[in-house]
Symmetry: D4
Subunit: 168 residues, 8 copies
C-alpha cells in the first residue's frame, strides 16, 4: 500500500485484530489507503498520545479505534486529535455492553462516533470512514452509491435463493 | 441563515427539540449552516425517505438524527442516504438504553455514527459533523483546534476557581 | 402452496431462516397459507417499503417480521402498512436484548406486536397470526381450541413419563 | 356504550387506570366498543380465569391486559383464552424492564402480543386491537388508513411550526 | 418413597428436570418426602390451578416451582395456594434475568420466595423447604445444624487440599 | 407486644425503616409477634453474627432482613443461622437491581428467600413469614385463607368502583 | 492545609464537587492532608497526564479520581502513574452503570480500585486511601480501628433509638 | 515461600482457583510474599471472620478476595478488618454482573477496592496490592516503574509484529 494512508486503524490489543480486520476490508473495498497498528490507552499512553497528536499532520483524515471492557482508546485519542474518531466496541466478558458504554457515553465537547459491537461494527467503521472521506471525494461518493446498490442486490439474491429453495 | 445548509438536523418529535437544539448550537459555534426539521421513521415514512434520498443532492454533507425508544430514524435515513449519519439517542422510559441500542447496533453495511444519550450527545453530534466537514475545510479545522483549546482553558478556569474557593 | 397467502413472513437476513421457519411451521399446523421472503430495512429499503405498502392489497392479513440487533424491520413495515405487524427479536451479541428493545419500544401511533426472543418467539408469531385470523374464521378458531388442548395434553404426557421414570 | 364490546381491557390494579385509559382512547378513536375492568392474576385468579374463559363466548375479539413488575396478567389470560392477547408492560421500580420481560418472554405455544412500556404502549395496544379487527372489517380498515394519514399530517404540522418559529 | 410427601416440586417443562433434580437431592439429604411433577402455568393452567388448590389439603407443606423466561409458574401457584411457594428461575436466552424478574417481582399480597438462577437455586430451594419444615420439626432442625457444619467442613477440606498442593 | 417474638425483622440502616415497616404491618395483620432492629453486616458484624446465632435459641422462627446496594445482610445472617431467612432488596442508586442480585444469587448451600424490591417486597416478606409459621399453626393458616379472600374482594371492589365511575 | 498532601482528589467537572467532597471529608476525619482539583481526561488531556506523571514525585501516595458517563479519568491517570488510583463512578443518565463499567473493567496490567457509585463511593474512596496510607502509618491505622468502632457504635445508637421509639 | 506473607489471597471456592492464581502470579512478579486460601462468607463464616480479624496482626498488609454471584466475601472481610481489601468479581451465570455489583456497591464506611470481572481483575488485584505496598517500599515502587515500561514495550512488540506481518 504505497499510497499515503487516509485512515488509521488502531486497536488496544493484537487479540482484537480478527475483528478490526473487518474495518480494513471495508476500506480496501473502497480503495482507501489506511494504516493499522496496535496501541493502548492504558499500556502505552505516550505512544497513543503521540499517535493522536500527529495523525492529522501526517495526512490522516479519520481514525478508527477498537477496544474492549473499559474501552478508553477512542476517547483518549479523541481528546488529543481534532479528527473524527470512530469507536468500535470489542466484545467482552459482559458481551461488549461495557465496551459500548465506555466508548459512546463521551462528555459534551469530545465526540466519539460509535458503531455496533464486534465485527458488524468494525465493518461499519470502515464504511463510515469512507462516507466521511466521500463528503469531499466524488470518486468515493460514487463507490458509496454502488455499495448501497450491492447491498440491495444481495438481498434480492438471498430472496431469490429462498424462493427457489421453497419452489422445489 | 441565507447560506446553503451543510448539515441537516432531524428529530422524531418536536418534544426532542430542546435536546436537539444543542446540536444546532454546536454548529453555530463553528459557523456551519444547517437546517432543522421534524420527521419520523414511523409516522412519516415517505417524508423521511424523501428527505434522506434528496439530502446529498441538496448539498447536505452530514445528517444528524435524534430519536428515542425504538429509535429507528437514524438507521432508516442511513438506509436511504450515502451521507454519514449521526444518531443521537433521546432519553426514554428506560433512560435511553433502548434508544442507544436501537441506534448503534446497526447491521454490517449501514453504519450510524452514534453519540451519547441526551444533551451531551446532541452537543457532540454537532461537533462531530464539524469534524467531518473539517476533513476538507481548513477554516473549520482551525476552529476545531481552537475548540480543543477552549475546552482545556475551561478546565483551567474551573480548577482555578476551585483553588480560590478553598484558599479562603 | 397454491392457496393465496394470508400471512407474510419476512426476515432481515437468510441467517435468520432457521429461527423464522418456526413461524412457518406454526402456520402450517393451522393450515394457513403464507409466503416467506428476505428483505431488509437497511440494505433494501425500497423492496421493504414496497412489500409493506402492497401487502394488504395482495390479500395478506398479518405480517411477521424477524430481525436482530438494531431491529428496525418490523417497525419500518408497520410504518408503511395498516396491517397488524408481529415482530420477532432475533438473538444477537447482546443475547437479543437490543433486538427486543428495538422491536417493542415503538412510539404511540405505530404498534408492533412483539413476541419472545428467538425460536419460541417465532413459533408464537405463527400462532398469534393464526389467532388474529381466527377472530373472523371459525375453522381456525376451532383449531386454536384444539391447539390449547394439545398443549395441555403434552404436559400430561410429560408428567406421566416423569412419574413412570420415578416409579422404576 | 350500548354496543356489544369487541375488545376487553383489563389491568392488574386501579393504579394502572391512567395508563390503560390510553388504550380506551385509541379504541374510541376507531369507534370500537370495549369493556374495561380491574382483575389480577395474583389477587383474583378465579375472576381472571373466568374472565379469560368466557371472553370469546361473550363476543370479545381481542383482549388487552396491562400489568407491572412480575406482570403475569397477559400470560395467564393467554393461557385460558384462544383470543389474541395484547400485553402492556406498566412502569415499575425497575422502569418497566421487569414488566416487559415478564410479559414478552412467553414460552412456545402461548403468545402475548407485547407493546411498549407505559402510555405509548397502551395507546398502541388500542390501535393494534383495531388493526386486528380491521383484518375482517372494511370500515375499521379504512379508518386505519385515515389514522396513518393523520400521523403523517401531524408530523407535517410540527415541521411547519418549527420552520415558522425559526423564520422569525 | 412410600411416605406422604411434604414438599411438591413442579417445573414448567421436562427440560427443566436436570436443574430441578437438585432440589430433590437436597430434600433427600434431609430425608424429607417429596413429589415431583411437570405442570405449566401457560400450557396446562387447569392442572396447575388444581394442583395449587389441592396441595395443602394433601398434606404438602411447601411448594417449589421452577420456570424460565416469562416465568409465571411460581406466581400463579402462589395466587391459588396459601402455602409458602419457592420459585427457582431457570436460565434462559437472557441468562435467566427474565426468569428471575418474572419470579421475584410479585405484587404486595402474594409472595414468592425466590432463590438463585439455575442449579445453585434449585439446591437452595430444597434446603429452604427443609428450613421451613424445620421450624416445627426438631429432627430436621438438627439435620440443618449438621448441614451447616458439613458446609464449613467442606471449606476446611478444600483449604487443606490447596495448602497441601502448594506445599509440594 | 408482650408475646415472645416469632419473627425478627432487621435492616441495615434506620433509613430503611419506612420500607421495612411494611413487613411489620403484615405480621401485625396476622397477629404474629415480632421484634425489629437495626444491624449491619458491614458496620456491625459482631452484633449481626451474634443476633443470627442466637435467634433460633430465643424462639425466633423466621428472620426478615432488608438491605440495599451490596446487600449482604440477609446472606450473612443465613450463613450463621439455620432459620429460614427472607431478604428484602431495598431500592438504590441502581433502582435496587444491585440489592436484588446481591440478595438472591446465593451459592448452593445457603438459601435466602428473596422477595420483590422495596415496599411490595417488605409487605410480602411479612406474609411469607406468616405462611412459614402457618405450616405448623392452624390458626395462622386460617388467617392466610382469609387474607386470600380479602385480596380477591379488594379486586372486586376496585372493579365495581371502576364500573360505577364509567356508568355515570 | 499547610501540610504536604498525601492524597490527590481530582474530578472531571466542577459539577462533581458535591460528591467528591465526601472523599475530602473522609480524609479530614483521618487528619490526612490532601489536594483537590478539576481535570479532565477528555477536555484537558495534557494537564491530566502531567498531573498523573508528577503526582508521585510531589509526595502523593494515593490518587482519587471521580468521573461519570464514559468515565476514563481514573484509567487514564492509572496509565501514567505507578500510584494506586481509586475510581469513583459519578451518577449519570444511566444511573452510573456506564460510569461504573468504564471505571472498573480495566485491562490486565493497569488496575483502578473502584468503589461504589456516588456519595457512598466518594466517602469510601477517602477511607480506602486512608487504609492504604495506614499500611505504613501506625497512627492512621489506630484511627482506622477507631473508625470501625464508631461505625459499630453508630449502629448501636440507631438500634437503641428504634427500640426507644417502639417502647412508647 | 519462607518469607512472611504481606498479601493474603482468599477465594469462596476452589473452583475460583484458576482465576485467582492470576493474582498470585502478579505478586510473584513483584517478589511479594503471599498466602492463598479458600474460605467462604456463607459456608464458613467463622473461619472467614477469624481470618479477617487476625490478618493485620499476622503482618498482612493487603487482602485480595475473589467471589462470584452474591459475592459477599470481600465485603464481609472488609467489615472485620482495617486493612485495604481488594475484591475480584468471579464470572457467574449472569457473566459476573451480579458478582461485580455485590462487590462494589458497598455502603459508606466500609470500602472494597473492586477490580475487573475475571482473570484481568485477578491480575490487577495483584498489581494493585503491589502498588499499595509500594507506597512505603522503594524497591517495589521501582519494580512498578519497570512494570509500566514492560507494558509499553509489550505494545511496541505487538505493533512491530503486526507491521512485519503486513509488510510481507
Amino acid at each position: 500500500m504505497a499510497e499515503k494512508a487516509l485512515v488509521a486503524i488502531v486497536m488496544g490489543s493484537d487479540s482484537d485484530l480478527e475483528i478490526m480486520n473487518e474495518a480494513a476490508k471495508s476500506l480496501e473495498g473502497f480503495g482507501i489507503a489506511y494504516e493499522i497498528d496496535v496501541t493502548s490507552a492504558h499500556r502505552a499512553p505516550h505512544k497513543t498520545a503521540e499517535f493522536a497528536r500527529n495523525a492529522a499532520g501526517r495526512g490522516i483524515k479519520v481514525i478508527i479505534a477498537g477496544a474492549g471492557g473499559a474501552a478508553h482508546l477512542a476517547g483518549v485519542i479523541a481528546a488529543e486529535s481534532t479528527l473524527p474518531v470512530i469507536g468500535v466496541p470489542i466484545p467482552s466478558v459482559l458481551n461488549g455492553l461495557d465496551s459500548l458504554l465506555s466508548t459512546v457515553q463521551m462528555p459534551a465537547g469530545i465526540p466519539v462516533a460509535t458503531v455496533a459491537i464486534g465485527k458488524a461494527g468494525a465493518t461499519n467503521a470502515g464504511i463510515l470512514a469512507a462516507q466521511i472521506i466521500a463528503t469531499a471525494d466524488k470518486a468515493i461518493a460514487d463507490k458509496m452509491t454502488a455499495h448501497k446498490e450491492k447491498l440491495a442486490k444481495g438481498v434480492e439474491e438471498k430472496s431469490a435463493k429462498l424462493k427457489a429453495a421453497r419452489a422445489k
